[in-house]
């Protein structure tokens, strides 16, 4: 053979690698770099004024401490709930599994601020439910949710489905014989959980934990609702406060604070890397997925507990939302006479932006989900199996746009894309495309982490066999690897779609006439005091998402384990 044998393969791999590097650099590095630039050189002139003033202020460090505290607390709670539910759903013989999973994942689609509002109302003096059972607190009594504990509670509940999704996809690959070996050795189910299942599930679990930590760190809606009234600041709300102030150096201070958030997020990811390095989690057997543990007499109790959890986490807030969407104005008690569809009328028929918002949000979220997964699979390949050093560095950077408050990412996007693109002359500003950029940058990590966890569980000889059969990299990725990491990839795509669908903080600055998103429209209703319209629109969003999720049940029979609530 000629001396150039193998050049085609090498060229293909190098091209793919550099394309991925470019994509990650543009999506993750560029906004950050632009922000950093604004932080130390506002208006083009170098100055450390913003740096010193921010870092020397006590408020900054208080907010940072609070951020870490709520992020850790929220993550612990989310992992407890999410992992327990994943194990119960994946490894035991409870009934109604699919329905339960469906309901458990649903809260991911409700915007955090809507959740916060619903819970506040639930525990407040005007709560219809509490009034019914006579436990309504006296008017004006302090709502217990306005505290660090309240924030942690809501963060944990909000992100438990995230941990659940990643862990469940991982559990699907756990083969029967590993557990049977444990049972044969005489171990009780709990021991097997502790010594076999959990260690093997470390990759997806760690992926879920890392995602959860960064999500809690960058969450704005919940601390905004629950923390602001008590002036319990976290970094995202501090940034918002700075923006609301009127100083000229606002942007550079915001940039410095954002870098602080990014730094904390990177620390968290670094820890994840450490935990996964040099340990072998590969599962090489190809036997059938698990026959569940049997719960016997515990089963009814467990099922009831799970459904109570669903009711608390999902049904109650939804009911609160529904009730407030049916009254003509805030505070009017809901009776047969006062109930009205006028809010829905307005939102559906009178308000042109709401309809556009549905279409926009749906297409943006779906596009972002698909695009991100298509990037994540080859990206994870190089990260996990090729150990490309350049990509490992970039991997840390992908966390940033997700950890930063959405408003900061939006500002970075504006700074980058206000002027027309060089060479191409296209203007992204004030179009849906800049919002798409924001979503791609922000949610890349949501799609990437689960896929990375999936690769850690994959046996590389499956790819090597394909190599020997003559398949080049792209073909291996599409015919062998993609089908094998599909469960984790779909989990990632779902996460991206659901989170983007209700996204608010990034779109709030980037939207323009014709490019409204659902979160933006709900937000403006709320701000303007039209919380009944906001509730109606939020209910419609939930209804549409439920319909979409249900429609997946009608489509043929995809491979097992692709969708968490199917089989």
């Amino acid at each position: 053979m000629a001396d150039t044998a193998g050049w085609r393969e090498r060229a293909e791999e190098t091209a793919l690698l550099w394309a991925l590097v470019a994509i990650v650099a543009i999506l993750s590095l560029l906004p950050l770099a632009r922000l950093l630039f604004e932080g130390v050189a506002p208006g083009g002139r170098f100055s450390t004024a913003a740096l010193t003033s921010v870092l020397s202020s006590a408020t900054t460090w208080t907010a940072a401490r609070h951020s870490i505290a709520t992020a850790c607390g929220g993550t612990v709670l989310a992992v407890l709930i999410g992992a327990t539910v994943a194990v119960l759903v994946g490894l035991t013989d409870i009934r109604g599994r699919n329905a339960f999973v469906f309901c458990f994942v649903l809260p991911l689609m409700i915007a955090p601020q809507v959740v916060a509002l619903a819970w506040l109302q639930l525990f407040g003096p005007s709560s219809t439910l509490l009034k019914m059972i006579g436990l309504a607190p006296a008017m004006g009594s302090r709502n217990p949710l306005y505290s660090a504990e309240g924030i942690i509670l809501l963060l944990g509940v909000q992100y438990a489905p995230l941990v659940f999704l990643t862990l469940r996809a991982g559990l699907r690959t756990l083969p029967q014989e590993l557990l049977e070996a444990g049972l044969a050795a005489g171990a009780k189910p709990l021991t097997i959980l502790r010594t076999i299942v959990l260690p093997l599930m470390t990759p997806p679990l760690v992926a879920g934990i890392a995602l959860c930590f960064v999500s809690c760190l960058g969450n704005f809606g919940i601390p905004a609702f629950l923390g602001i009234p008590g002036n319990y600041l976290v970094l995202p709300t501090l940034i918002y406060q700075r923006l609301a102030g009127l100083g000229p150096s606002v942007l550079s201070e915001v940039a410095v604070l954002s870098c602080l958030i990014g730094f904390i997020a990177v620390l968290g990811i670094f820890l994840q890397d450490l935990m996964l390095r040099r340990r072998d989690f590969r599962i090489t057997t190809t036997s059938n997925a698990m026959r569940p543990f049997e719960l016997a007499r515990w089963r009814p109790a467990v099922e009831i507990a799970l459904w109570i959890l669903t009711i608390i986490v999902l049904v109650l807030p939804l009911i609160a939302l529904l009730l407030s969407s049916l009254v003509p104005a805030v505070g009017v008690p809901l009776t047969m006479q006062s109930a009205t569809w006028s809010n829905y009328d307005y939102v559906l028929f009178d308000h042109a932006a709401a309809k556009r918002a549905f279409v926009n949000s749906f297409s943006l979220s779906a596009t972002a989900a698909v695009a991100i997964v298509l990037v994540a699979v080859p990206l994870a390949y190089f990260l996990v199996w090729r150990r490309s050093r350049l990509l490992r560095l970039l991997n840390l950077v992908t966390e940033m746009p997700y950890a930063l408050p959405g408003v900061v990412l939006a500002i970075a996007a504006i700074l980058l894309f206000l002027k027309p693109l060089p060479v191409l002359g296209l203007t992204l500003y004030n179009t849906v495309w800049i919002i798409l950029f924001g979503y791609l940058a922000r949610f890349l990590v949501l799609g990437l982490r689960p896929v990375i966890g999936g690769y850690y569980q994959l046996d590389r000889t499956l790819e090597e066999a394909a190599q020997i059969a003559g398949a080049r990299l792209l073909r291996r990725l599409t015919t062998i690897i993609l089908p094998l990491v599909a469960p984790m990839a779909i989990a990632g795509a779902l996460l991206v779609f659901l989170t983007a669908f209700n996204e608010l903080t990034v779109s709030a600055l980037l939207w323009s006439s014709g490019a409204e998103t659902l979160g933006v429209v709900v937000f403006s209703f709320q701000q303007g005091g039209d919380s009944t319209y906001a509730a109606a629109l939020a209910m419609l969003t939930v209804a549409v998402t439920i319909a979409l999720m249900l429609s997946t049940l009608l489509t043929g029979k995809p491979a097992r384990g692709v969708l968490p609530w199917r089989g």
Partner: protein, 331 residues
């Protein structure tokens, strides 16, 4: 004689032909980009009415909270290519900041006749479009009805008050600056509120929800929100306290970097015109030009006692005030 008559006729004909042409040449047209923090519905109504008055102008609107609007503007300034032509935001303090930065374009020919004094900038860079006062909102089931600010801060109302946080709301920041400058209220008033465990929430919308739902029976709230909700049936009432009310004017202004100064001026004209003022009235606001009328929820003959606001002072002391407020209400 015939020649003269015919000449005059011809001249008149020519003039009458040219006049509409020149009028048309003078009518502003093109694109106008508006950034506003008005509530959604009001923004839509305003732009629709404006488009009817000036059919040649196409309006692009960006609507969000004041913080978001100012953030977007700041980013556009930093990137060197601001897109906005006109701004219509909640409070004059933000406008003052922009004016100080040299971002606003003065409009000396604006028709300010009949506008209450102090509602527009002395240098004619920004003009108040309406009067939004902040008073006391009470839930109809509340135990008492405070008649003054001092009444609100009474110890009996402990744990039952909600107010918009000046840290997140420019309008509330103006309220803070105005009231702390008064001898009968000052910082003592806010210290009493703090002793009453008042909650400072993010924005007036949250206060409305808190008061109307009964979570906090007493609130510091803007007038139109309370009255619009009451009109729809919310169990909420609005009280003008005895000491007076601070007000914000929701000013409109032109940016120096505007691409379409003619259209921008037309917009300001519209807002300040009787037609624009009547529109504000119909949306439930107190118009800046008193002669236009008063909104239906205002009992006829009510005299609103406005607290005077030295906007320059407010802006100057703003960061100090905010810092003190943050320390006072911090955990």
């Amino acid at each position: 004689m015939n020649y003269l008559l015919r000449g005059v006729w011809l001249a008149a004909a020519l003039v009458s032909m040219l006049a509409p042409l020149s009028a048309q040449a003078q009518a502003p047209k093109g694109k106008l980009v508006l950034y506003t923090s008005q509530p959604e519905r009001d923004a839509t109504q305003t732009t629709t009415a404006f488009k009817q008055a000036y059919p040649g102008i196409e309006v692009e609107v960006f609507r969000s909270g004041t913080t978001e609007v100012m953030g977007k503007l700041a980013a556009e300034f930093a990137a060197g290519a601001p897109k906005a032509d006109v701004l219509l935001i909640a409070d004059a303090a933000s406008m003052e900041a922009l004016k100080k930065d040299g971002r606003l374009l003065a409009y000396p020919e604006a028709k300010v006749a009949g506008l209450a004094a102090g509602t527009y900038d002395a240098d004619r860079t920004y003009f108040g479009s309406k009067l939004i006062t902040t008073g006391i909102a009470v839930n109809t089931a509340a135990k008492s009805r405070p008649a003054s600010w001092a009444d609100l801060a009474k110890p009996e109302n402990k744990g039952q008050i909600a107010m918009p946080s000046p840290l997140y709301s420019g309008a509330a920041a103006i309220m803070l600056g105005t009231m702390t400058a008064r001898s009968d209220l000052g910082w003592a008033f806010f210290e009493k509120l703090k002793a009453d465990e008042a909650v400072a929430v993010r924005g007036n919308g949250a206060v409305l929800t808190a008061v109307a739902s009964g979570e906090k029976p007493y609130g510091v709230l803007v007038d139109f929100m309370a009255f619009n909700a009451k009109a729809k049936g919310s169990p909420i009432d609005f009280i003008f306290p005895a000491e007076g009310v601070p007000a914000v004017t929701e000013p409109v202004a032109m940016l120096k970097t505007t691409q379409n100064p003619a259209a921008a001026r037309a917009f300001i004209d519209f807002i300040l015109s009787d037609e624009g003022q009547k529109l504000a009235l119909s949306m439930g606001y107190i118009p800046a030009r008193a002669s236009v009328g008063t909104p239906s929820w205002l009992p006829p003959g009510t005299v609103i006692k406005l607290m005077p606001t030295d906007i320059g002072n407010v802006v100057q002391n703003n960061s100090a005030n905010l810092k003190r407020f943050s320390e006072l209400f911090g955990n």
